[in-house]
């Protein structure tokens, strides 16, 4: 295998037996992640992201196909892989509540054979970076979600892994902490050559900001794989618009003629943003007339560039949001 490849899968599949039938969590996944890149896996809940990570981190066996991490087979060469990887999951509650932050981190460092002195030095360094220095001697059962996740990330990087698996690392974190985590990821990658991250997320802006390449996964299949710019170029021939309506008038809206891939976003100021595609740019005037004739209060409109969200909807056919399952049409 080429030395530049950190992760490779060949027709990777995973099925689960349920009471009635079988669930195919992954179907014929073929990806190659290069050393030195941050590779994103974008998909809704149940898409197969976590299943893929579990296979690559040797927690789960595939039911078909092959997977390799740093040239080692995930099925047979588990020790060789485990020496060089680490993983951090979002919403992780691992650890021992009776131990302090420092003690927990030290304990996990021992599983990677890090000499105690070095481990303690590194722990102090990272606690400082993440603003946890004052909580070093706090029992982890007393930590808030954000502090806990920072600690988890320190745990993940303490062993200086060649490949780091981040499974929704900013899940449930507030904006400030999420931003801190993302900034750190970028800095950490630059510290050493050939560090690789496989990141799963369903935050589009996070994927856009961090990832060199993104694979869009849904129903266990990869639907697209490219750089963020490359993915957006898929929609280069699409005409995309965004309009804003007053919330009250939106409630009357039953359809918007001549449009496709219609999505709705509530805005902070109480207005509703509607994004859509149209096939024929000439129809935009008719759309405005329709809105005016039906008494809708249009507060803004603009033509816009495609976003990852548009790409996702185009490819998968639905929004990524957890709280809505609105199918586009």
């Amino acid at each position: 295998m080429k030395d530049v490849i950190a992760i490779k899968t060949e027709n990777l599949g995973r099925t689960y037996k349920k009471e009635k039938g079988v669930i195919e969590a992954l179907k014929n996944i073929n990806i190659e992640v290069n050393k030195g890149e941050i590779f994103g896996l974008l998909g809704p809940n149940g898409a197969g992201k976590t299943t893929l990570i579990k296979i690559l981190t040797t927690l789960l066996l595939p039911t078909s196909g092959k997977a390799y991490v740093l040239g080692h087979d995930v099925e047979k060469e588990t020790l060789s892989i485990r020496e060089k990887i680490n993983m951090v999951s979002g919403g992780e509650w691992a650890g021992y509540g009776i131990l302090t932050v420092k003690e927990n981190l030290w304990m996990f460092s021992q599983f990677y054979g890090i000499p105690s002195k070095k481990a303690k030095r590194d722990i102090d360094k990272y606690l400082e970076i993440f603003g946890l220095k004052e909580d070093a001697n706090t029992k982890i059962s007393k930590l808030s979600t954000g502090m806990r996740q920072k600690m988890n990330i320190i745990r993940g990087i303490l062993s200086s892994p060649e490949v780091l698996f981040l499974d929704e690392p900013t899940l449930g974190l507030d904006v400030q902490i999420a931003r801190t985590v993302r900034s750190f990821i970028k800095v950490w990658m630059k510290e050493k050559e050939n560090r690789t991250i496989l990141l799963t997320t369903h935050y589009l802006n996070e994927a856009d900001e961090l990832c060199n390449r993104i694979a869009i996964i849904d129903n266990g299949e990869i639907h697209a794989l490219d750089t963020p710019q490359g993915l957006k170029k898929l929609l280069k021939n699409k005409i995309l618009y965004s309009i804003e309506l007053e919330r009250e008038s939106y409630l009357k809206l039953k359809e918007l003629p001549y449009t496709t891939k219609f999505t709705v976003n509530p805005m902070k100021d109480g207005k509703i943003e509607i994004k859509f595609q149209i096939q024929d740019e000439g129809k935009i005037v008719e759309i405005f007339n329709y809105l005016k004739d039906n008494g809708f209060t249009l507060t803004s409109f603009r033509k816009r560039e495609p976003t990852l969200e548009d790409v996702f909807i185009e490819i998968v056919g639905k929004e990524l949001k957890e709280d809505e399952e609105r199918v586009s049409y």
């Binding site: 981190t57 040797t58 066996l61 304990m107 599983f111």
Partner: protein, 272 residues
């Protein structure tokens, strides 16, 4: 490479033993769990013997059994089902994905557990002795030391073997720990000499506690030998064999069970 792997696993043993040892100094609930609880059972059974008119040695058997029950509980709840709890809390997947053997994790747990449980068992023994005013007759110190440490090593070997089974069995495993608790008290003769169970004693000898308790009674009490199941020297040989067998089984089953758990995807399921 092998040396590095060995050192890493040794570090892991100490790393994992650490929470066990530290917990004793931070959470004092163990005083109730590991001294008061066994003591209550000891007092109950001892008082029953007293009510029935049994000799003092029988009271001693009950106190010793109660003290040793701390080890059985430690093996059942803090060893065998520990991986189940680790899975529930999310630690298990971190252990598995670390470049160490699960044996090191379990070994670390047992070292931490053995140390703290020994202190607790001693406390139960001392308090029970004071309450019932027991008389000990130390017959042979060498045999006492051998029986005690071999009982612990084989018990914890059994614990490691059970841990691998619990990896697969999940929530059933927690119930199994409950299941094994009292029946083992019964068939291992925790509160009475196993001799009275006849042939059952041969089967229950597979539980190190049975032979260990019998041996300890024989070297600590005047009437111990009268009610002994086998001679102490034979019991020492049995304990040595059990230690070796359970250690081998532990290594074998842990590897096998980890593979099966990875195949069936049970390493990270929480509530099953």
């Amino acid at each position: 490479m092998k040396k590095e792997y060995l050192i890493r696993n040794i570090r892991a043993v100490f790393g994992r033993a650490y929470p066990r040892v530290i917990a004793a100094n931070r959470e004092y609930s163990w005083v109730i769990a590991d001294i008061v609880l066994p003591l209550l059972s000891v007092v109950a059974y001892g008082t029953l013997y007293k009510f029935l008119g049994a000799s003092k040695d029988f009271l001693g058997f009950a106190v010793l059994g109660g003290a040793m029950s701390a080890f059985w509980l430690n093996v059942l709840w803090d060893m065998a089902s520990q991986l189940y709890w680790e899975r529930m809390s999310g630690n298990l997947q971190l252990y598995i994905s670390s470049p160490i053997s699960l044996i090191s994790i379990l070994f670390g747990m047992s070292i931490g557990g053995m140390f703290t449980t020994s202190l607790r068992a001693a406390a139960t023994l001392i308090v029970g002795t004071l309450i019932f005013k027991l008389d000990f007759s130390l017959i042979n110190l060498t045999q006492l030391i051998l029986v005690f440490f071999l009982t612990l090593s084989s018990l914890y070997g059994l614990g490691m073997t059970l841990a691998s089974l619990y990896l697969i069995w999940g929530r059933e495993a927690w119930h199994l720990s409950e299941f094994f608790q009292e029946p083992v008290y019964l068939v291992s003769g925790m509160y009475f000499p196993i001799k009275f169970l006849g042939r059952v004693g041969f089967f229950s000898s597979l539980i190190p506690l049975t032979i260990g308790l019998d041996g300890l009674r024989q070297v600590l009490f005047k009437q111990g030998a009268t009610f002994g199941f086998l001679s102490v020297n034979i019991e020492i040989l049995i304990l040595i064999s059990l230690t070796i067998v359970y250690m081998i089984l532990a290594v074998f089953y842990l590897k096998k069970m980890e593979y099966l758990a990875r195949k069936e995807g049970k390493l990270t399921i929480r509530w099953e």
